[in-house]
């Protein structure tokens, strides 16, 4: 089986279309970053409190907002999370306090605000930790155990927690469900039903980031991106001629700009893992560029009489099959990640999906034309013969 055999497309002839396309997307992204959504930093970078809550029924976002408002938590961002049938909600409190301790209170307040029907003297099973449950059992001693009570009740508490978290996905509808849980003694289940109640939600994940760490991480993300680009420039300049390094870095910068621009345009949070994806892309999107550059270098030696633009076109066509294939296969895996990887990885895999598409496009549409444009400019200045962009010998 084979795609793209003996193509002969004039890629360089279409460079103005490519340029227009890239300009539109870059400028739109830049515009959004500067004037519209800015850079939509996630909680990792801006600081704040994020609480992921899972409900046992379809959550009423307005009721949640009202409850939080009553608790003095104003203007929370509340949005459904993951698939609707999971009944999950993401509550996002921005940082207004500069005090790190105040962030912590946000989480407790959220739990308190949502807890509407707590019976007196009972503890919420859905939000109880393993330790709370174990200590309760030790205290009540429903099985009348002797010396190994600690170990036995640990196992019982673990079984109950596992049933809640791993079998029921984090939230029980009723404590009666524990009767059918594997590993939980019926007497223990009955004792738990005495001392606990079930709220209609469970907190699955809490992220609290102080403003100090946020600022520090923003700086680090910027620096990491910069160092990454610099690393590419140095390596490619060393392996090829410096103009190849510059072309590759400009291309990667273009990819990064468009990817970040996309996040800004769609106002999708940029989390730590999104930055990780972008740094990976800086390394990855060079791959296709390097394949094309390698071929250009090889062809320059073989086709001494041709014009550079002709050589570049030929090289792109010769490598088109592998460029599309490698990108396509990576895209396939990344797409699997995007579709099946779950909500936690959504931003990360989205960045990779966008980045790989743009990275493949740009290695054909941006990197190669830069080489030719540079050559034309040198010829115009009369400093270079027409085909001398040979690169270093291997």
């Amino acid at each position: 089986m084979e795609f793209f055999r003996n193509t002969n497309i004039d890629f360089l002839g279409k460079k103005w279309y490519f340029l227009a396309f890239s300009l539109i997307f870059s400028v739109a992204g830049l515009f959004s970053m500067l004037f519209w959504h800015h850079i939509p930093w996630g909680v990792d970078f801006r600081g704040g409190t994020l609480v992921y809550v899972k409900f046992s029924h379809t959550p009423d976002l307005n009721a949640i907002r009202a409850a939080l408002d009553r608790a003095g938590l104003h203007d929370p961002k509340i949005q459904p999370y993951d698939r609707p049938q999971n009944n999950e909600v993401l509550i996002d409190l921005a940082v207004r306090e500069t005090n790190e301790q105040a962030l912590d209170q946000g989480k407790a307040k959220i739990i308190q605000a949502l807890e509407t029907k707590a019976p007196a003297g009972k503890v919420d099973f859905n939000n109880a930790s393993f330790l709370t449950i174990k200590n309760y059992l030790l205290d009540k001693d429903p099985l009348h155990l002797g010396s190994d009570a600690d170990q036995k009740y640990s196992a019982q508490a673990q079984a109950a927690v596992d049933y809640r978290d791993k079998v029921q996905g984090g939230v029980l509808n009723s404590l009666d469900q524990l009767q059918s849980a594997a590993g939980v003694d019926p007497k223990v289940a009955a004792a738990l039903a005495d001392g606990f109640y079930v709220s209609d939600f469970g907190v699955r994940n809490v992220e609290i980031v102080g403003p100090q760490v946020g600022g520090q991480l923003r700086k680090q993300a910027g620096l990491a991106t910069l160092y990454s680009l610099l690393g590419m420039l140095v390596y490619l300049g060393f392996r090829f001629e410096w103009i190849y390094g510059v072309a590759a870095v400009v291309t990667v910068f273009h990819d990064t700009l468009i990817t970040v621009g996309f996040f800004s345009l769609t106002n999708t949070d940029i989390s730590l893992t999104v930055i990780a994806a972008i740094l990976t892309l800086i390394g990855y999107s060079n791959n296709d560029t390097i394949v094309v550059f390698d071929r250009i270098r090889e062809n320059i030696k073989l086709m001494r009489r041709e014009k550079l633009s002709e050589i570049v076109n030929r090289s792109i066509n010769q490598t088109l099959s592998r460029t599309i294939l490698t990108a396509g296969l990576t895209f396939l895996t990344v797409l699997a990640l995007f579709l099946f990887g779950g909500e936690v990885l959504r931003g990360f895999s989205l960045a990779l999906v966008i980045g790989i598409l743009i990275g493949t496009y740009s290695s054909i549409a941006i990197a190669a034309p830069i080489l030719v444009a540079y050559q034309d400019w040198r010829i115009e200045k009369g400093k270079r013969p027409a085909t001398a962009l040979a690169g270093k010998a291997r």
Binding site: S129, D165, G202, L329, L332
Partner: protein, 541 residues
Amino acid sequence: MNKNLLYKLAFIVGTMLFFLFGIFGIPKSLSGQGLLTALTDHIHLGLDLKGGTHLILQVQVNEAVNVVAQNAIETLKDQMRKQKIDYTDITQPDPQNNPDHIVIKGVQPQSRTDLMNIVRDRLPEYDITGGADNIWNLAMRPSNLVDLKNKAVSQAIDTIRNRIDALGVSEPTIQEHGLGDYQILVQLPGVDDPGRVKDIMQSTAMLEIKQMIDGPYPSQEAALQAKGGIVPADSMLMSGQCASGSTEPTWCFVSRISAVSGKDLRSADQSTDQNGQPSVSFSLTGEGGQRFYSFTSAHVGDNLAVVLDNKVMEVASIKEPIRDQGSISGGRMTEQQAKDLSMVLRSGALPASIKYLEERTVGPSLGADSIRSGVRAAVVGMVAVLIFMLIYYRGAGINADLALIFNLIILLGFLGWSTMAGVNVALTLPGIAGVILTVGMGVDSNVLIFERIREELRNGKTPPSAVDQGFSHAWITIVDTHVTTIVSAAILFIFGTGPVKGFATTLTFGLLANLFTAVFVSRTIFDWVLSRKQRGEALSI
């Protein structure tokens, strides 16, 4: 088959067995459940998959510097009084930002040498400069300052570790985080309600027993008024339970000097006082007991203040000399508080208070969900790639698929070996993504090689020479593409934290493994296939 090829195959099989052992060890049973247990024993999961709490905290190192500066000021005053050097004032102009900086005012020029001698002999960690207008500046030597701050961080790490161990959290990670920011990373697997752990970690627990000089007063103003608005020399004003039996905070003057402090503690235990209230009893070390004995002997009839973290916990009068026992029962301690306090005292004092910068808690249900979706995505991605390679490259697709599977084995085996070596490179959710990405990028190298081989075949080369040319031409390109990606992964590793570090590690190791599998393994399989073919027989690619 020639010998060379045989060696290569043996080497590949050996490598695979080595990494398979890393993943599974010697499994107890070969059933699915047995293998799964073996797998989870060997591959260490990150907090985001296992559930637990991740905290970043910062040691307020300036406080530790302040303590040293305060002592230095006391020493200076003491020595200058003894040597009859006159001064008007000794202050710290900016205890917030430059806590090591001390200014002495009003020292006459004739005392110059004496003052410099005091600093040289008694405060060797300080540099003294100035002299103009009779003002002298003391600043800690930079190397001493850095040492002091770093020591505060490592001491805080030790103290926190003691406290967390006493709480019974299994496999905690407590280590310095970042460079030079005095930050500590604490990871507590399985802890999904960090409240109490945080409280316990946070208590400074500086215990001091001091002489109570005067009090109690109902308010700070009343106390100051009684002394004409100035805190008397050698004493300090503190609040707390200065009047025994009162629930309202009261104020009193206590000695600046401690009779004994937390350093002198030998042990501390939860107990009950004579009223049946929870309390903490402690005993002192030999030397501390000696000091306490001579102190209490000299002050029979005086009042004694038990001070915890600069708050008076209780006041008692000394009825007779005490040697090495004492108890704290002030306030309205619950049993839990008494238990926690005794634990915190046993673990030693934090050299400075800590501030929480970041907290992430992943509930175990989310962790389980994440594993499920991560593994599902990995399986789907992997199977899609395997099938595509088989269809597109037919015979050679088998090479690529084998190379990919070996790549995966090496990658997981590496994680398993790291656990066995005690390095614990954990598999995180982004790490699983790294595995998937490695599959995608690993196959890139095979595509580069295969396309080149096809091209060479089209140009009329024989299969063996096409394979040879394909590998040697693609090799340089593969190295280039791998180096650029590894460079960015390395930068990610340096800058990233937790899960992101896990991603960078799996990606880097996956790529390194890929250099081996896509080039060496795939090539060996080609050679083996070619060695079985007749001359002129076509290659399935």
